[in-house]
């Protein structure tokens, strides 16, 4: 009898606990459904079929060493890691990149790159190895040439590593050697993934129907998530497990760079992409099926692309300040304030009608930032 009473009390306690826990999940069923679309995480990552050394450990090792070695720049002035600093989540911590001179854009974090369809703020490339070649050759950055890269891979300290992966550089064209080097760098960068977050644990608990586990996600973060999905209109662009739709939008950030200079964003990026021999429909892709080439073949250039920039992922966002394509917003509070008080005069008159002032309260803004902070590994 006593045992039965104990069991009954235990069941009652569990039911009470479960009821309390459920009360702590403040999302509506529709919001829960939307939340589930932001996972699961980490996403399954397949090797890049356009890069025959994608996932190859020898290539990853070589790519990591090359990434941090200024030998890839014309005069040893800088390496990839000079701007994409490993201890700063592969950003630079500055508003705008410092190459050989101050550049026009913020250094983007190099995280979760296999999930991308387009690369760079303007989407100049449809694959990671092609994008990786741009700073190597750019006169304001590493300022190197394919001929120099070939000479380095023929006779330099990485000659034997290169030969084991691709054969003798001496027998290959300079362009082929450059592409191969970029493919090892891409193989390394693909390994830079963010981990599980408190948001992911919340999301997975919702999927399992585990209200008790879900209830450990702070109430403030849940309120912020509700704003993110609803009134804040953030999830229209920051969608999916990587919190980006991978496309290009006008976020109301000025694109004037100074007298007579503008950053055309996606408009210029598409010009580069569509004239590139290194796109996924080109001869340098190792994918015989050209499986990712549908995007470059069917993307529609329009004048509305002018001044639009790629939507960044929000994973580990709290650790990759400053923000926006020009690094003009110093912290997450400034980002939330920007969208809360957005100047619609700055938006394209014929553009999409998505952004509007949000009229968030101080508590709302705090909650939204709390939610954004929950997207970092913890």
């Amino acid at each position: 009898m006593r045992q039965l009473l104990k069991s009954t009390l235990a069941v009652c306690a569990l039911l009470l606990l479960a009821g309390l826990a459920r009360a702590e999940v403040i999302l509506t069923p529709d919001e829960i459904e939307q939340t589930l679309a932001h996972g699961p995480w980490p996403a399954v990552q397949a090797p890049d079929p356009s890069n025959r050394v994608s996932g190859n450990q020898r290539a990853i090792n070589l790519g990591r060493r090359l990434f941090e070695d200024p030998i890839l720049s014309r005069d040893g002035f800088m390496s990839c890691a000079t701007c994409h600093q490993p201890d700063q989540n592969f950003t630079e911590g500055l508003p705008r990149s410092m190459g050989r001179k101050l550049l026009d854009r913020n250094t983007p974090a190099l995280l979760n790159l296999r999930a991308h369809r387009w690369f760079g703020w303007g989407g100049d490339s449809d694959n990671l190895w092609a994008q990786t070649m741009l700073p190597i050759l750019h006169p304001d950055e590493m300022d190197n040439t394919a001929d120099n890269i070939k000479a380095t891979m023929e006779r330099g300290p990485y000659a034997s590593d290169y030969r084991l992966l691709f054969g003798h550089a001496a027998t290959q064209s300079s362009e082929t050697v450059l592409v191969n080097v970029a493919k090892t760098l891409a193989a390394y960068q693909e390994t830079l993934m963010t981990g599980n977050t408190s948001f992911d644990r919340f999301r997975d608990a919702l999927e399992r129907g585990d209200a008790l586990a879900a209830s450990s996600y702070p109430r403030s973060a849940q309120r912020g998530l509700k704003l993110f999905l609803g009134k804040g209109r953030c999830a229209f662009c920051h969608s999916g497990p990587n919190f980006t739709n991978g496309e290009f939008h006008d976020a109301g950030v000025p694109y004037f760079l100074g007298p007579g200079r503008v950053d055309a964003g996606r408009h210029a990026g598409l010009k580069t992409l569509l004239s590139s021999p290194y796109a996924l429909d080109g001869a340098f892709s190792d994918d015989p099926h050209k499986s990712g080439a549908w995007a470059v073949r069917s993307v529609i250039p329009t004048h509305a692309n002018f001044g639009t920039f790629r939507v960044p992922s929000l994973r580990r966002i709290a650790q990759t300040a400053p923000y926006m394509h020009d690094g003009s917003l110093a912290d997450l509070d400034a980002v939330v304030a920007h969208y809360n008080e957005i100047n619609t005069e700055r938006l394209h008159a014929d553009g999409e009608q998505l952004l509007r002032p949000l009229n968030l309260s101080s508590q709302d803004k705090e909650d939204l930032v709390t939610f954004l902070k929950s997207l970092s590994d913890d």
Binding site: F236, N245, G246, D281, R297, V299
Partner: protein, 129 residues
Amino acid sequence: MRLPAVLILVAGLSGTAFACGTGGSQMVAKEPTDLQIFATLEPITVSKPFGVELILCGDASDLTVKADAWMPRHKHGMNYAPVVSAEGNGKFNVSNLVFHMPGLWQVRIEVRNADDAKPNTYLLDVEVK
């Protein structure tokens, strides 16, 4: 110089539709017509390409079919041109549709007769989570 993706295909294979009305969602024609279109959509994930199978019921011979989609509340369309292929017997496949935002999308199928310059447009509302 890349050519823009092919949007248009002429269905000259047969005027006989098959399996009419037995599957898919019926699209709403803007102008009164005897031709009906039933659309079956593949599962949609935001920002991922998907396809639609169209079954044209009625005289589907010598028709030109175009596909597009639009977000009426945001006043923008897609960033990619879908590809339409005629499979014969009034069946068409549309590929490379990409809805890059959650929300209400409107699939638009434009059908034009060979001897008729004025197209008819068929609409289907799709809510994407």
